[in-house]
Symmetry: C2
Subunit: 342 residues, 2 copies
Amino acid sequence: MPNITLKKIAEILGISVATASKALKDYADISDETKQKVKSLAEELDYKPNSFAQSLRNRESKIIGLIAPQIVHHFFANIIKGVIDAAEEQGYLVITLQSGESYETEKKQLQLLLDKNVDGILISLSDKTINYDHVADIIKKGVPVVLYDKISKLLDCSKVIIDDRKAAYDATKFLIDTGCKRVAHIRGPLKPQTTIDRFLGYKSALKDNNIEYNESLVFETKDLTYDDGYGIAEGIFKSDEDIDGIFAFTDLLATGAMVRLTELGMKVPDDISIIGFSNWFLTKITSPPLSTVDQPGYEMGVKAFKLLYREIQEKKKDVNSPKEIIKIPTKVIPRNSTRPML
Amino acid sequence: MPNITLKKIAEILGISVATASKALKDYADISDETKQKVKSLAEELDYKPNSFAQSLRNRESKIIGLIAPQIVHHFFANIIKGVIDAAEEQGYLVITLQSGESYETEKKQLQLLLDKNVDGILISLSDKTINYDHVADIIKKGVPVVLYDKISKLLDCSKVIIDDRKAAYDATKFLIDTGCKRVAHIRGPLKPQTTIDRFLGYKSALKDNNIEYNESLVFETKDLTYDDGYGIAEGIFKSDEDIDGIFAFTDLLATGAMVRLTELGMKVPDDISIIGFSNWFLTKITSPPLSTVDQPGYEMGVKAFKLLYREIQEKKKDVNSPKEIIKIPTKVIPRNSTRPML
């Protein structure tokens, strides 16, 4: 069934389209009788103003784009939920895309979103992204962009992050405070800022507690999956028998390592303590339940949308306030994969 | 920075907008020289045809709407991923919304999507939805709609589901085949079709194996969460000491029940076997790893988009082929929360 147009309504009533339009908008120069007639007919025929035509007039789509590296991922799913909830509250809808940690895909998707004239874009960079021109270009064009979680310090836009360095510092210090003397770190790929910051946090916690940093206790994984953690654990076990604590970059890495170390006869936490990062649901039901760092995804999503929303509104008024960086607080969640505090 | 318009390009070159437009589209009645000039200027100025204006002309938004009951949910996240991947392949973008299992929200969101002139809608009904007029209305308006996973038999549109009855039958039969004599069922709320079908599958597996159906072995939960499973387990344990198997409606229910029963001193699977439903990632790492039924969410998402895409194309050609119901195959995944086959 074709959509009812304002033209059709005007035709039926024998009035001009302009009059019909004014009537719907309650213009003072239209008689109450005409307003009444137009409105009831519009209601009867289920007339909806064409949103594209409206968008064209308002130069607004009321749609934003959201690029996440992954969707089947507890943390990012929580962020997406937060963004969609906050957006809906302001009458915005969200086109969600997943880069799959691919730079090429991410680049293509930014263009897809621009082609749809989205009002703004939220993006968390893929782990493979090491050139940022594709994002810098759209910031230069004046499209509101907010980076969340995986960011680059080289991009001049607002950002919502956690304080990865502090969070990692807290996790490492927690292991030390519960009696660990030789703490290993399972880190992610070299480049992303989150990996660098968590590594630096680990390092300074050692330093502040008079433990010498030892390069051979840092283990790098390609991906951040359960299988990677499982795969790397035997190497850790064999490389240094005195390791009594592991701070892993993600809960999945920590869980994989814990399962494998248990298979190899190690007792968690008596022989070795393990702490993960993110507080995924699964950490509550591992055996033993995994100590971790809570990283509030939902809140990050809400904050990211709010920042973007403000920039969209400011753009309409030609206001240009300084970029903002919001840091969401994290906290250590002690469970049974680490020992009690000394 | 304002967007470059075709009018601006025409002005600069001193030609008409129509000529500039034809030049960009390689019309035969435009000289190669003019085409060349228009194209290089368009490239130089980074001219992008306005997508709203294009949409208005084509009556297409190349955007579809996707409503899921939840996003932070392994199964639905996989479906969303499948939809987005399949859509992107055809040049479509996806506005994702979550009803949060609320009928009112679902109704409001359908309207939001219609207001944006999406080309079609994929929806999985909320558990609270017991009136279907809001969906029936948009089907009547000719908007392509495909239901996935949680459907209603009362709605006349294409659907992608799993054969819940068969899947539940297989899970129950598997418990019987591994030696269970008294199989309980933890089911979800009474109304959704998935709950009804899995319950019926459970019942017929009992019947086909000469086990009498016993109402007191069916336990209903309000939600389908880990906490619900954990909470209901003690009641099951106390109600009937001979229960030696549980088929739970979801992996979360099964996991919650397993953790609680273990706390109460039961040995899984020796005292009691437990099988879940969906094959969430966490089932691999529970203790013991949970037997379950694999329900391929990603595939469901891909198939749902493909059905919708076909209907969108057919609508453009005024073709109206019969509605289709696709059933995605499932299979039992035996792990260690059930005993080996006899």
